[in-house]
Symmetry: C2
Subunit: 339 residues, 2 copies
DNA sequence: TTGAAAGCGCTAACAT
DNA sequence: ATGTTAGCGCTTTCAA
């Protein structure tokens, strides 16, 4: 029951030309007379002719689509990144296919296979918190799929990468707590596998050391599912509350963990910041409306999406194999509560 | 620099068969010997053969992709709907292409054209708050594109529709305010064009009338941009605050408006609910963490996405033109603050 | 300057 | 049961 679009053939027939001539006219070739070109163009415009992208793809062996894998789109940070990705991709004529790993390794592998089966021309990925084995990405990469990592990058694969200065962001946030007088500062971190976790925990520890405080391993809790399961955050916070002497502040290394901690603290009726201060990474637009106004590390998510996409399209459209890979590092911003 | 995938031809050559035989083996045709089928299947599996979806699309004149247009993905309500859409679509082998109108009419028109140019097999849409003219949708529909409307539907186009019982949801929320003793209840509504606006304002008025309160038109404010511009919400709230006697409660008809009102009230240091009660539609997962715990009308967004997609795929895959169109109405839930 | 023909990967009607 | 061929819509040699 689908409408049959006009093809180059229809135009050729109507104008008594060959399909190649019509094609040339539309592609603005030089080997064609101005008059013929004119006729074809006018007729095509009248019929609102649109070249069939699928036929084009088949011919060019390019789908003009790129795949994106994030943990979940219902997360301000990722949805802002996606907006940045789309702004660049659409402008360059690429379709964006968005998939979610839900912080699940098997889902990530399956979703990558799915994207590959849809013939994506390239991939943008922020790996899931459960991803440790990189075989699925390595084999795709080796078979020629251009990949750009953003946010959560991986060491083992040599390609373009875009992230924020996680170390500095975490350092700033922790320093802010220290400057406010907190000394027992705990850290609720994402999965230990992730690049961002190592970098952010590193920044946290550096700030402590700056204040001559020896980082206490019992104050660092890792959440394998990145906060997708509230229970794991609850467990982490509970354990922290049991540590003696009790920590007085928490630094959470991701959006989901920041709001997760908030949720748990509220549930246990622990006032923020009176009984427990809280700060963390977050790009939520509702952050200033939360019952406890907290300071957060904000990432230039939109920009990160744009930069990553530009790099990917460069890879895709490059004639020769690219060997010079860039790692772009953007700056975070410490955002204080609106008074 | 893209990897060249194995094709049916490669297999045929290697096995000394014709492409049609290989094709038949892979498609599990009956007109083929078990032995040959076996050989082909094994070889194909070894090479990890994946049929080229683009070639298939060209052949079948189907892209196996569906377009989705929502106001913005960085909105819990919509991202939950998208999750529902993807769950059904992917299972049935369809790719979902997500686009955002950002509540802008021109963007919606452009994005629809873009989707059409990508040969989508069908469209799921919640129209933008700025959409009044439906020509773009009508002409697509008339030329044969299957469309299912969800959330914000339109009267003029006869097709499947999925939404919640907006009237009842609004009625319940307003009634809740009335039961708490509020009598001067204002309404901050979305664009007047939208189906959801009419229905929700209708439910709001019905609840008032139930309490023998004559709805006061000066207490109803419409936001053309659906709250995308905080200024319009601020203006609405300011105007409401100037009305004498001043309203004591606000019912907001959408997610963006509910949080928008909250933001404005906070900015103007108006305590919620002491100085102004607030309730409204919202699917935000952070709603219970807000500084003022509010009651909200929650929609079964995930389910809405699933139902809409099932209906759309039905339309797409139907052999004969469908004439019997369904309008599915789901129920909302009034969610109270966690104590 | 234009047309004819091949080919991208696959399926299916038509031979054999 | 298997092969040959045409064709989906388009671009691009190669001929004229």
């Amino acid at each position: 029951m689908k409408y049959k679009a006009t093809t180059i053939k229809d135009i050729a027939k109507a104008l008594n030309l060959s399909t190649s001539t019509v094609s040339r006219a539309l592609r603005d070739s030089h080997e064609i007379s101005a008059a013929t070109k004119q006729t074809v163009l006018e007729y095509a415009a009248k019929l609102n002719f649109q070249p069939n992208p699928i036929a084009l793809s088949l011919k060019e062996r390019k789908s003009h689509s790129i795949g994106v894998i994030v943990a979940e789109i219902a997360n301000s940070f990722f949805s802002q990144i996606i907006n940045g990705i789309e702004s660049v991709a659409n402008e360059k004529g690429y379709t964006v296919i968005i998939s979610q790993s839900h912080e699940n390794f098997e889902k990530e592998v399956r979703t990558l296979q799915y994207l590959a089966s849809r013939s994506i021309d390239g991939l943008l990925i922020s790996v899931s918190s459960a991803t440790n084995d990189l075989q699925h990405l390595k084999s795709m990469y080796q078979s020629g799929l251009p990949i750009v990592f953003f946010d959560r990058t991986v060491e083992e694969i040599q390609t373009h990468k875009v992230m924020v200065d996680n170390y500095q962001g975490a350092y700033n946030a922790t320093l802010h707590l220290l400057e406010q007088g907190f000394r027992r500062i705990a850290c609720v971190a994402n999965s230990e596998h992730l690049s961002i976790t190592k970098e952010r925990v590193g920044g946290y520890m550096a700030a402590l050391q700056q204040y001559k405080i020896e980082p206490d391993p019992t104050l660092i809790k890792y959440c394998f599912h990145g906060g997708m399961l509230l229970e794991e955050v609850e467990l982490a916070v509970k354990e922290l509350l049991a540590v003696k002497p009790r920590p007085t502040a928490i630094f959470a290394t991701s959006d989901k963990l920041t709001t997760g901690c908030m949720r748990v603290l509220k549930k246990h009726k622990i006032a923020v910041p009176a009984a427990m201060a809280l700060t963390g990474f977050s790009n939520s637009e509702l952050i200033h409306l939360l019952h406890a106004p907290i300071t957060v590390v904000q990432q230039p998510a939109y920009e990160m999406g744009q930069v990553a996409t530009e790099l990917l399209l460069q890879l895709i459209e490059s004639k020769r194999p690219v060997k010079d890979f860039k790692t772009k590092m953007l700056q975070t911003k410490l955002v204080f509560p609106e008074k």
